[in-house]
Symmetry: C3
Subunit: 205 residues, 3 copies
């Protein structure tokens, strides 16, 4: 079974969910459209950009994807105009949580994969998986002048990225292959994330 | 008509205006000379540095310009000592506004130009023009622990950078050439910026 | 006399002291383990990472040192668990001050050395020495949502890094050689830092 169209779909939906969370944070802080677009862009592409700068991979992932840039621009524009017209935000609800969780799993697997391909030590590859999945949100919170939410009592967000990275690392050399390992990582990370959200599970220390 | 000496002059004055805005923000926050110099440096060179890291262009622009580093150091030193002696800052006045606006236009054109030369898609090149012109100020505000002013109700700052990038992009392949397109971009961006400052125009959303 | 084992020891102890200061700041801010580890990692490796990105040196220094990553992980884990159990932090005391001061001197010398080897102008090399020694702490404070402490009234922290960089730069071409110049830089920077801490000396402007 070819999983790559499914994974491309998850990528697109995950980028959309990440971008939307950037707009929502920016608007909560009273930013204008420029701030909303920047926050959306950083959340969507910041983690992958940092990973690629660290690993010296060029061109950066979004440089070759003007379609994604345009999509993030449209998300920021529509949400900003809507907010200006009726004061409403697309508040993260159940659907956005699910898309965000799927993106979290995919980006942790993809980050680990890219690092391993670059010849990184497995321990470094796991760090890169977590960075790819989570640092977009860290940058979003830094420009919103907040302590990054994943460093406070978030519901296992970074822990789920860590789980996704480890699952991918362990399974990629099995019969599951690249796509199968990614799918398993997405399932594990997204499953734990949604469980943690539902039962409000946080790290004990 | 050879415009390059004029453009070099605008570059030097723009860097000076950017550095001064860094010192002023740092001193408002009670920083010492180390903070003032760092803020000045980040404001003056941060946008170009980020652009070059993203596009993998090395050496970075300021690496080869010790004269500019020394100039930024002197600006920070003189303004800090003056502030310590009589509590006064070189508050951004009309002249600094004009120099800053000219720098804004030039750096947006230069950022777009560099990105296009690197083979970037026009949409990416416009993003790079805006990043070059504005992210120095974003980094300044981040280390000053403020929400970046261009994300709040600033008077079309980023919008003027966007205008400069687009004007440059459209005109560079015309008979105006590189320098003519840069001059037009500077005029458009600086003109709109000074108009927005005078009439306190902000984005409606 | 071969000084390199001594310098390797100082490097390890300095990284440990830097990592510990990251954990302490994170815990003061109420962060969980993810935040504590990230703050420890940024403090320990952030300065060297920024230097290497600026100078385009790859792989980054920590990419090839999984042992150091594991050590920083353990420091963050032990300090976080201890904090959770009895509410105590390894507050920076006299010993940590000394290790931190030695690390400050070493990293300023090492940063200057790396930049000179990359062919940088001496003025750029001094900036890189200061960046290497101090920007880990800057990044720590940024994600902790504080104005970086070295930009406020810290006891000559960045000034000591500047002294270390200059001492190294002046002595490396003398009979002292690389290791001797590094040792002198460490002694000068750490000595001034401990003196400034003891007598609470801050910059006058």
């Amino acid at each position: 079974m070819d999983l790559s169209p499914l994974i491309s779909l998850i990528e697109a939906l995950g980028i959309g969910a990440f971008a939307l969370s950037g707009v929502v944070e920016a608007k909560k802080k009273g930013m204008d459209f420029v701030g909303a677009f920047t926050a959306a862009f950083l959340t969507a592409f910041g983690g992958g950009t940092l990973r690629d700068l660290i690993l010296d991979r060029h061109p950066l992932v979004w440089i070759g994807q003007p379609t994604y840039i345009a999509a993030v621009f449209l998300i920021a524009l529509i949400a900003s105009v809507r907010h200006a017209l009726n004061g409403q935000l697309y508040a993260p609800g159940r659907l956005v949580d699910i898309l965000d969780a799927l993106g979290l799993g995919l980006f942790s697997a993809a980050g680990t994969s890219v690092a391993l391909t670059s010849g990184a030590h497995p321990l470094v590859a796991i760090v890169m998986g977590v960075v790819t999945a989570t640092f977009g949100g860290v940058l979003r919170d830094v420009i919103c002048n907040e302590i990054p939410s994943i460093f406070r009592t978030s519901q296992l967000y970074a822990t789920c990225a860590l789980l996704g990275s480890i699952v991918y690392l362990l399974l990629r050399v099995t019969a599951l292959g690249e796509a199968g390992a990614s799918a398993a990582a997405i399932a594990a990370a997204a499953g734990l994330r949604l469980l943690a959200l539902r039962h409000d599970i946080v790290l004990p220390f």
